[in-house]
Point group: C2
Chain length 335, copies 2
């Protein structure tokens, strides 16, 4: 399986680490023999149609430098999409940062890959939040595989659970906590900390971004909800179809009042007809009342009842493990 990787941040490097450490096992157990023909980061790229050496990629990234500086195969500067047309490969893995305004550069990259009949895995919510119905159609039209397990739930297989394990059932509604940062903040506020203090803590612990507005204004949750709704419920929606509210207005007093009634406040993303993200007051013993940076999602199905999955929603290694699951699946479909 010949691969070009876009984005070499925490997830990208975790993926390369896993592919290195698990090389033998992935080959023996799943017939997965990935060859990395190219790596693209924000400052350059490296290409070798015979396959790049993973150790060398990791070494240069560990030095804080661009793969464009790699010996023999590196080139500094922007990667032009036309280059893709001159390399024969099977799979493009997009792990570039999320851009929720226009999805770029990932959106154009994925579209171009489809037009070149390439399979695509992405961990980037931006293109899906903004154009998932179109991207699913394009993948189908071009008869290629498109997987994005890492976009929702990190390593927790939320998308697969509904598709693979509830096959034969019908999922009627979905509701859950899809953002670990806001859940961490609300959990700390419940203990009496002010919003700003809890947020600062989340930033120190690495949960929240320097600019945490995507998290606390509910946009990240809404993006993931769009992906769940399209993939599992067959909706054709994008971010603009979700009614979004964040947690900026929640006060410690609100959480105290809720606690007195055996309840708590959580930022819940739900789709049941309407798609929305809003702070809801729910019972303390609800399955969704998980604490810390956990995610939790309930699937309400017609026959099997309600099922809830709880897991970490982020993490480099965890998200990279979901990319490997997607690779195994695409490998199976390639025959």
């Amino acid at each position: 399986m010949r691969i070009i990787i876009f984005g070499c941040g925490i997830v990208g490097r975790s993926l390369l680490e896993l592919l290195k450490v698990r090389k033998k096992e992935l080959n023996i157990s799943y017939g997965l023999a990935p060859k990395i023909l190219g790596v693209v980061d924000s400052k350059g790229f490296a290409i070798n149609t015979e396959g790049l050496n993973i150790d060398e990629i990791l070494r240069i990234k560990d030095l804080g430098r661009s793969v464009g500086e790699m010996e023999n195969y590196g080139k500094k500067g922007a990667f032009e999409l036309e280059i893709l047309e001159n390399i024969e490969f099977d799979l493009l893995i997009d792990m570039t940062p999320t851009n929720i305004v226009n999805g770029e550069p990932a959106l154009s990259l994925i579209k171009r890959a489809f037009s070149l009949k390439l399979n695509v895995i992405t961990t980037n919510k931006g293109p899906l939040a903004l154009a998932m119905p179109l991207l699913l159609e394009l993948a189908k039209h071009n008869n290629v595989s498109f997987r994005f397990s890492g976009t929702v739930g990190g390593g927790t297989p939320l998308l697969d659970f509904a598709k693979k394990c509830l096959m034969g059932d019908k999922i009627l509604a979905i509701r859950g906590i899809l953002n670990g940062t806001t859940n961490y903040i609300l959990t700390e506020m419940e203990k009496g900390k002010e919003f700003s203090e809890a947020l600062r803590e989340a930033q120190v612990k690495g949960f929240a971004e320097a600019d945490p507005s995507l998290d606390i204004d509910g946009i990240d949750s809404a993006s993931k909800l769009v992906i769940l709704a399209n993939w599992i419920l067959g909706k054709k929606i994008t971010l603009k179809d979700v009614k979004v509210q964040g947690i900026r207005d929640i006060r410690v007093k609100d959480l105290e009042d809720a606690k007195k009634k055996g309840k708590t406040i959580k930022l819940i993303a739900s789709v049941n007809g309407e798609a929305k993200v809003e702070a809801e007051t729910i019972p303390k013993d609800s399955n969704l009342a998980v604490s810390g940076s956990l995610n939790a999602v309930s699937f309400i199905s017609q026959y099997a009842g309600e099922e809830t999955i709880i897991g970490r929603g982020a993490g480099g290694k965890e998200t990279a493990s979901s990319v490997i699951r997607d690779m195994i699946e695409i490998r199976g479909l390639m025959g």
Copy 2:
């Protein structure tokens, strides 16, 4: 798909109901066109190689009578396994009651089916708890499919989650609440009810059997643990390899003491090297601290972290829905 059904209790009848109501949809969506050639209950059987009428089966069962009394095709008395040899069919579905002493009559039935190269679905924990390593080998040896999703978690796809959604990962340990009756009792005792009162309530609500010892002595949990350990962790164990403790010794005072420390007591089945079932004191905000008759299982995986699934662990319709998922999967494997 030509089917013979053994056992026509709540699960069996729920399955027939679902196959009737969902007939068109199952055919269109999954190519599933089941034909019921035979039904066997405790007092007789009915066979028609052209296919029995589901409405007629349900009608006679609703009258509290045996299928052996059905017009034209019914026959009262014991079903002799030799009869199977004279009927051409594809799938045997065993929904007979659990016998944890020797697994019979289901154990002999399943073995015979394998020797006749028949695919088998069972919702009966007995044969698996007592002889799962052997049964898996026999199915493999005879090149037939053997599925048992309904034995653990009712409609909640616990077995599939680990196998299908965490493919490519490695599950290191499993721990969870696998019995809804004991969890209901412990939840009520936490509210101050005595064991005997809580048990009586569970019986009235239909959670517990008239003889609830399999539940409260931990045998039911241990049986399900055997199935999880064999299927997901590749262990070769049976019920005798599980260290089992029940909840008879738990007092309201124990739960009160735990509560004061922000904890609660749950009957936890776990396998991590050793397989055991025992009452454990766990934090109130643990993902496994679910209340009422719910089940909850955590899978600790090497790469994706820890994931917990919560759902109803029983119910006729729910368990029947898991049989349908197994049927769809076997249909796919039959090509």
